[in-house]
Every structure is written in C-alpha cells, then in structure tokens.
Symmetry: C3
Subunit: 267 residues, 3 copies
C-alpha cells in the first residue's frame, strides 16, 4: 500500500502550548507537501484507553494510505517501544502502550515494526518529547514513501482490550466508555448486542434513572428529555435532547449502565 500524503495527529498535548505546532514543523521539514489533519489533541492527559477509542473510531473515515500519528505516552523516556503498524488501509505510528492496538486491528493489521533506526529520528532524541523527536519524523518518512522494513525489525504490539459488556439473561451490564462534547454518554454496547429486540423494548438505567425507548435520532425526543440512540460511533448512547446527559445524569467515563431488552416502553 502506498502512502497518500495525509498525516493525522491525535494526542493529549492540548492546544495551549505549541507542542502540536512543533510536531507539524518537524513533519513539514521532512516532507513539505504533506496534508496534516488534527483528530484531536484533547485526549485527557495520559489516558491511553480514551485515546485508543477516539483513534479507532476515526481511522475508517480517512482514505487508504493515510498515516495516523498518535501520541498519548506516559512512558516516554522509559523502555517502552516505539512502533510503526502497517495495515490493509493505512499506517499507524506511536508508542507501544496499547494506544494503536484497537485501530490497527480494525484497519486489518499486517505487520508491526519497532522503530530502531536513528537516521529517521530527529537528533539528539530527548527523553521527554518523542512526539517531536521520534514519532513525527518517522510519520513524515513513512508518508513520503520510505519502506516500512527500513524502520526496524518486526515485533509484537502491546494489546489493549477495551471493556466488553456482560450479558445476563435479559439484561446487559455495560458502562460509559466516552463522554463527548455534547455530554452524550457513549456506552460499550453495540447494535449486535441489542440483537433483534424491538427498539420500544430497550431501556437503559444510569444510576436510578431509566431511559427508554431506543429512538432513531436526537430530534425524536422532546427537548430536555433523556433518550437512547445508536449514535455515530455505532454504539448505544444515552443523550438528552438539546441538553447535556453527563450533567443531567451526573455520569462520566466508567459509570455503570444496565441495559434491559425486554421492558415495555415507558409512557
């Protein structure tokens, strides 16, 4: 697969400092014609699992041959490896801490290379900012067509297993895995988990509040009312029409959600 000249960036660096701008300077110093696209830089600091989720959810919308550069890296400067993952649909560059694993799996992983060749790094390599010194330069070289085998030997990738919901009879013990900008509560329940149950019979309980039924869009509920929807992540979301479910229901990442599949719709 050939790179297409697009590099995406996904980090926990925030946008207040110039760290992301500096990475872009390094990228463009090596490959001036790159197209750079920010996924987000507001992954909560050091939150590898949330970064992995955001990345996995975004990669499918980019054209074949895109290089995805991701840095959420609490272990920078330690012995953790730096990786290039080559997949059916594109490339991933980042630390070996699970961050790349769900996206790599979703994209059809072919091989993983351990980044060991300093001629593709910015030198000297600091112990605190591999985004600038290792990952950005390697991503630029990948995007300009350097062959993956030249970056280092093949290796295994640290896995990251996102939590799965647990089925118990007619209910699913789930949890909130992400809260978006609108306050929508994204759960780890997907359409397959809901099976063929009629949407009128699906309900979800967050603490003592039970929300029902499953509707087709946010606009199908009354303003201010909580609702269930299969959202843009392909996952069950608890939302509030024209409101913020995280605030209304006082919920966040990790909050348990009990989904029932056999309830009559609430009135």
């Amino acid at each position: 697969m050939k790179p297409n000249g697009i590099v995406t960036l996904c980090t926990d660096f925030g946008t207040r400092d110039a760290y992301v701008g500096i990475m872009k300077g390094v990228l463009l110093s090596i490959a001036p014609a790159l197209r750079l696209v920010d996924l987000t830089h507001e992954v909560p600091p050091q939150s590898v699992e949330i970064g992995a989720l955001v990345l996995r959810n975004a990669v499918e919308f980019f054209p074949r041959g895109t290089v995805h550069l991701a840095v959420v890296d609490p272990g920078v400067g330690s012995a953790r490896a730096a990786l290039l993952a080559v997949t059916e649909n594109g490339f991933l560059v980042g630390p070996d801490n699970g961050l790349l694993h769900p996206a790599a799996t979703a994209m059809g992983l072919r091989e993983v290379r351990r980044l060991e060749r300093p001629e593709f790094f910015r030198r000297p390599v600091s112990r605190t900012f591999h985004g600038r010194d290792v990952f950005a330069p390697v991503a630029a070289h990948v995007a300009r067509g350097v062959e993956p085998r030249r970056f280092g030997p093949t290796c295994e990738m640290e896995p990251l297993h996102l939590s799965s919901p647990v089925r118990e009879g007619g209910s699913i013990q789930a949890r909130v895995i992400y809260v978006d900008h609108f306050g929508n509560l994204v759960t780890n329940v997907d359409a397959a988990d809901l099976g063929t149950f009629p949407s009128q019979q699906v309900s979800a309980s967050v603490d003592e509040v039970t929300v029902s039924p499953l509707v087709a869009s946010y606009a199908a509920a009354d303003p201010g009312a909580p609702l269930l929807v299969l959202g843009s992540w392909g996952l069950l979301e608890v939302a509030v029409r024209d409101g913020n479910a995280a605030e209304v229901l006082r919920a966040g990442v990790g909050t348990p959600v009990v989904v029932r599949l056999d309830q009559p719709a609430s009135s």
Copy 2:
C-alpha cells in the same frame, strides 16, 4: 462561479472529540486536494443564531468560490431539509434551520438547492451525524466542481432574522448579540445606527454602568477602563482596555444595552 478548492468548517462540535477530524477525512476521501480552514468549532451547542452570526461575519474574508460548510444542527434526523446555497461569492452547505441565511444574504444569494441525491452522500446515512454523512460529502463534491443543480431541486431557505435595535428618540434599545474570547460585548448597533453623531456624544449603558465616549481603538482608553468602539465586526462593542468586559460588567448574550447619542462626554 467556480469553486476555488477551499472549504471552511463552522460547527458546534468542539475539538475534544474527533468529529471534526472525521468530517475532514470524509472531505479528503472525496477531494484529496482541498484546502480546509476551520472557522470555529466552539459555537455553543445547538446555538443556531450564534453560529449564523459567526458565519456571516467571516465569509466576506474568503476568496470567491470558497465552500462554507456549517453544522449547528439540533434537528439532525428530523424532517428539516439539508441545503446547498449558491451565492455571488461562494457556496454554503448546511441544515435548513436559519444557520446559513444571514451569510447567504450577505454573500448575494442566487439559488438554494435541497440536498436529495444520495449518490452524493456517504451511505448508509446515519440519523445522528449528517455533518459526516451528508454535509461533508456534498461540500467536497461542490468544491470539486459538481454542478449545483445535480444535488436536488431548488427550494426556499428558512430565514433567520437577527434582532435589530429599536430607535426611540435620542436613544437606541440594543442588546449584546455576541461575547468574544476577550470578553468584548458585541452589540447589534452598527455604524449607520450611530449616524453622524460626534463620537464624544455617544454613550452606552449596560445595567447601571454608563460607558462613554466612543473611541477609535482599545488602546485609546486607560488600562482597566470600559470603552465603546466600532469593532472588527463593524458593530458597536463595549470593551475594557486590557480586561474582560463580560466579567467586569457581568453581561452576556442578550444583556440589554441602551445607547444614547446626545450625551455630553463623561469626564
């Protein structure tokens, strides 16, 4: 008019999630050479009127042939239409809820097309994220030169009438329509409303505080002092030199402002 390859994006999606990055992935999948420019993604959630103001204020600074993609869309998934507006100066793509109306009017509206042709959508079209599935793909096709008539039939556009100030003798009953990052209070009073009154005689009252006179720049007031200025929106602003007027005057969007045109300057 020919598209120029630039697409701007204006949404209420925030930058914490990858929703904007995903829209850019969809755009570049269809038209890899586009130039993408963010206007803002921090329109307050579901605030169609503020989004409309920001968009109207920005479009005139882009070159002819730019495609402006705007999504503040509380009605996503409902029956509200999706639109392409063709104007003298460029194109607008977004929901039919008034968001595009002030900008389209300012740009010289020629015709409006209702987006009905699924071959220009990402499929399947979700009920929750038309930014990704409808508006981004259509904007990319418009920007690569697909003729407007191919997207659907002509239609009317939902109007949005921004509040106008009310003149009563020597005073104008106005209000704050926008608060910017610096805390400057942008009112709905423009230079024409002020007519030919000498700037020394203009004053504005926010609650019990009266600010006067109208000065030429923020730097013309003392540090910490409130001032009146015709700001970069072409509208009367209440500001505080080196400070935050929204905090100092405890004002926000909707706060009434009474402008007087015949007052002697305060000392």
Copy 3:
C-alpha cells in the same frame, strides 16, 4: 533567503471566535497555495511575554524560509509600529511590542522593516484588528516572495528581556516562566546554569516542597511523585509523574523556585 510557502500563526485570539479563520481567509485570498500551521491561539490575553516565549521555543522546528505571524497586541490602534523581521532562518511579522524579539534573536536577526506601505494592507485598516488588516496581508505577501525592503524602512525592534535566574553561591534564584497543558512548571534555568553538577545533587524548592534529584524522563519517577527534568524546552521543569505539578504544588507563572546544586539526593 527565499520564503518556503509555510506561514505559522501564534495569537491570543482563542479558538471560540472566527478571528483566526478570518486571518486565514485573508492569507489565502492573497496567496492561495500557502501552507498554514497553528502554533497556538491560547496565549493568555494580552500576555506578550508568554507569547514571546512560546514563539521563540517553536521557530527552530520549522524549515528555513517559514513566515511566522504572531499577534498579541494590546496596543492595537495606538502608535506602536508594525514589523517585519528578516532573520537567517525565516521571517517574523507582528507588532513592535517585544513579542517577536526573543524569536528574532534566536533565529539570527538580519534586519527589521517598519510596515508602512498601505498597498500591502487590507483597506480600510481598522483600529481594532491589525491581525486581519495588516499582519495577515503582509505575511501573505512576504510568503509569496515580495522583497522585504518594499514593506517600509529599516528600524529598531522593541526588545523583550526575559527574566534570567540569579546565582548566589550554590543556589539559583529562579522562577516559573510557563505552565504547560500537563501542569509542568517550566523554569528559567537551562542546562548551562546547572553546569556539570551531578544530577543526583540537583534539587529545587517550590514554596516549602523540595524536589530532587534531576531525572532523565518523566517515567523515571514513581506515579504521583514530583520530579525535576530538563524538558523539551531545554529548561529545568518541575513535574509530577502522571500528574499535574501546577495543581499539586499550587504554583503558576512567576512562582519562585530555588535550585540548589550541592545537595545530597533525598531518599
């Protein structure tokens, strides 16, 4: 030196309004093929010194010929000059208030031009938004190759002298000059200040808390423990492993830090 077509932007405009997008519209109206890179737009409002630090720290990572456009401009509309600085490595455009000085010095200053030629401005020039009307148009013209002498006469640049630490015997009286997104406290002490002292003997006191020794990376400390590191700015940082030092140590820009070079390592 020839411009390379890249323009970076560094402002205190925030990202909530469309001010940055408008500047990009102006840039692309003049030079449609520019590559635009955001350094940051979250310099604290009117904080010229912090803007100057961020800019100086970022410029070295961009390729030769880059134009850096910086606007932190409390004196907009006053008599302060507008500048183009030509350096060994690139160009700087912005107000003459010290903002450009540390970066220009670091980049090898050759000459400074006072922007006086209105044919390179957007007209009419407002008194409140020179980023849009003066600096963005000039940056675009510089980036498309207009010769520096055409923008105006040579002049001097307002200097900005960043605070230096004071050495007293075995200790250094320093201060926090920047707090980054992770809460890391960046001090004004660099590697040369630390000389050849063994890192085990370096300690730093923030209020009553003494942190020691100097380690090679964030990962070298225990989770939650404070640490000292020479960070990516090339400056001594006080950090907390997997935590936020600014919060834990209740410190911010200006907080005194006493560095000692002769202490035995704490246990």
